[in-house]
């Protein structure tokens, strides 16, 4: 077997996923209601959240380091970045979503309990990537274009902002049920979460718009047209419209927080399908890629 065919990145990938799994477990453990533990103050929900949060942060950082090494190993092995196959797309998203979520987790302590929603979503990607073949992918000639970097970077920030919005939406929805509401007693009220979630959506709209523009410039250079309603372009445009619709709906009607949360989740599902459904349904990200 050719040495370049041995997937040396896999142990690092597995380590990264294990760190995410542990972080998920500790995050849930940290907000789960218990009695007579530690020195918390919230009635019978008495836990030392700070210690758990520090551990979650440490595990997230470890996961990011492992995933970075995994991507670097693969890059060296196959000679190009994680741009092509679904295995590569998922691996790079696990890193980029993780980076931005970790930043938010670090800088916004009041929202940390939302890790209970965000980290399992990362694990959906993690489980998926484990089922895929890590074989080397072909790097098409049109992918040498510099605009690809801009397009991909903006897309990653955009999806990560949606993830932050979804995490808060999940909290707003789970608070409607007694059993799950107790996980989020330390978080700000729904009205605040709703406001922040839609701020993330606004930023997502900015990055989504920039991603579409950068993608159009790349498509013009690479395939001789800036827009052609291919599966991925149409799906991305529908997500942009869904974001615009959500923002205008909020301006037009008073929307209860949980419905607002459902809207954000719907937008995320559309974006998720665009990222991971279209490349999966079609052998190439865009028609005419090669």
């Amino acid at each position: 077997m050719n040495p370049s065919e041995i997937a040396t990145e896999l142990p690092w990938l597995w380590s990264g996923l294990a760190a995410y799994a542990l972080a998920t477990f500790v995050a849930i453990w940290g907000v789960a209601p218990r009695h007579h533990v530690g020195h918390g103050t919230a009635g019978n929900i008495n836990i030392d959240t700070r210690q758990h949060e520090r551990l979650v942060l440490g595990l997230l950082l470890a996961a990011l380091v492992f995933l970075t090494i995994a991507i670097a190993q693969r890059w060296v092995r196959i000679g190009h970045g994680p741009w092509i196959s679904l295995f590569e797309l998922l691996m790079s998203q696990l890193l980029s979503l993780g980076v931005i979520f970790t930043l938010a987790y670090w800088r916004l302590p009041g929202l940390r309990a939302s890790a209970v929603i965000a980290l399992p979503i990362l694990w959906v990607l993690g489980t998926w990537v484990l089922m895929l073949d890590p074989k080397a992918s072909h790097f098409p000639a049109t992918y040498y274009n510099e605009w690809k970097w801009v397009h991909v970077f903006l897309g990653k920030v955009y999806l990560a902002l949606l993830l932050l919005g979804v995490a808060l939406s999940g909290v707003m929805i789970m608070r409607r049920f007694k059993r799950t509401a107790v996980f989020f007693t330390r978080m700000p009220p729904d009205a605040t979460l709703d406001k922040i979630a839609w701020r993330f959506m606004m930023l997502a709209l900015v990055f989504d718009s920039l991603m579409l523009i950068a993608g159009a410039v790349w498509a013009q250079d690479a395939w001789g047209r800036y827009w052609s309603w291919d599966a991925l372009e149409t799906s991305a445009f529908l997500t942009w419209l869904a974001l615009a619709l959500g923002l205008h709906l909020r301006l037009t009607y008073r929307i209860p927080a949980w419905i607002s949360g459902l809207m954000i989740i719907g937008i995320f599902v559309l974006a998720f399908t665009t990222y991971f459904g279209m490349p999966y349904l079609s052998p190439s990200a865009h028609k005419g890629m090669v």
Partner: protein, 341 residues
């Protein structure tokens, strides 16, 4: 009148417009050939009227510079896209090595009703090209050499390929996967003057297994032939397609007999003689012309700047409500309820 304009400017109308456009986009999904452009044009026109009315009547838009810039830019994008569709040109052309670009040889040509480019001013001569292949016949980089006339009348070489189009007079020439070999033939009739011409063989390596074609010279009968190529192609390894390193034997079937011609060989057929002069290559280009693309980029960026400016003004004074940066600080619920950002 004002009341009517306000009704048209309503946010509820905007919601209907966005839903209509979403349906139109969904119908255009994956560039379906049976979908009509009207499913996009009608919602865009509807939204444009709504937006124009809102710009004039809605203080939420016209009193906030960022939002105003964003929404005017959106209108600009729609207008530019419409101008683009009216003035564009989309076509394909196959150009033989050593031959100049000839607009008359364009194929699959679509152009907007007001297309007014200077295609006749586009001048270049096709040179040789190389295409790299990875194992498994995965196409890599294409380097196509073209020769352009400079101000002194000299010929200047330029390499184009893939995402580096040749741009002349606003027309963008993109190399494509469609390329192959050409045989240069001379027909020497029993009576009359000789004529020389080229015959393009099917795309290579896509149709590697059927490099066949035919030619009917003036006053002669149809001559069928196929080309036996030695390109060095190896589907299991890296290799480079380079017409300068390729040899081709022209196999002509005459009266059920197979005759092999090397470059320079002549064959006597009914009505005259056929001389196989030499092997050349041809490159297929996609041609695209749209005078609005630079403006579209500029206006699109302006729209994002406007939107960003608006959000910055909204968020800069207090980026995070109480309780977000510091969980110990409780927020005032009454101040939050029902407010939008």
């Amino acid at each position: 009148m004002i009341r009517m304009i306000r009704a048209v400017a309503s946010l509820k109308v905007t919601l209907v417009g966005i839903i209509m456009l979403s349906v139109g986009a969904a119908l255009s999904y994956d560039n379906r050939i049976d979908s009509t452009a009207w499913v996009i044009v009608v919602p865009l026109a509807f939204l444009s009227v709504n937006l124009l009315a809102a710009i004039f009547t809605n203080p939420r838009i016209n009193k906030q510079p960022g939002l105003l810039v964003f929404h005017i830019s959106l209108l600009g994008i729609v207008i530019l896209a419409a101008i683009g569709r009216l003035t564009y040109l989309d076509a394909h052309v196959e150009i033989v090595q050593t031959q100049p670009f000839d607009p008359r040889s364009m194929m699959e040509e679509y152009r907007g009703p007001f297309h007014a480019g200077s295609l006749e001013k586009v001048q270049f001569i096709q040179g040789p090209y190389t295409v790299d292949y990875e194992p498994g016949m995965q196409r890599g980089l294409t380097f196509s050499e073209v020769f352009l006339p400079d101000a002194q009348g000299n010929s200047v070489s330029k390499i184009v390929g893939d995402d580096r189009p040749l741009i002349l007079e606003g027309y963008r020439f993109y190399t494509t996967f469609n390329k192959g070999f050409t045989v240069l033939l001379t027909w020497i009739p029993d009576q009359g003057a000789p004529e020389t011409g080229t015959v393009n063989m099917p795309s290579y390596p896509l149709f590697d297994y059927k490099q066949a074609n035919s030619w009917t010279p003036t006053g002669g009968e149809e001559i069928k032939f196929w080309l036996q190529l030695q390109t060095g192609m190896d589907p299991e390894a890296k290799w480079r397609l380079d017409g300068r390193n390729v040899s081709g034997v022209l196999v002509v079937t005459q009266d059920k007999h197979r005759v092999e011609l090397n470059p320079g060989d002549t064959l006597s057929v009914k009505g005259g003689q056929l001389r196989y002069e030499k092997l050349l290559t041809w490159m297929g280009y996609k041609i695209y012309y749209n005078p609005t693309i630079k403006w579209l980029f500029f206006v699109s960026m302006l729209s994002v700047l406007g939107m960003s400016w608006h959000y910055w003004k909204k968020m800069a004074s207090k980026p995070w409500p109480d309780g977000v940066k510091d969980p110990e600080v409780k927020s005032d619920k009454s101040n939050m309820q029902g407010k939008t950002v």
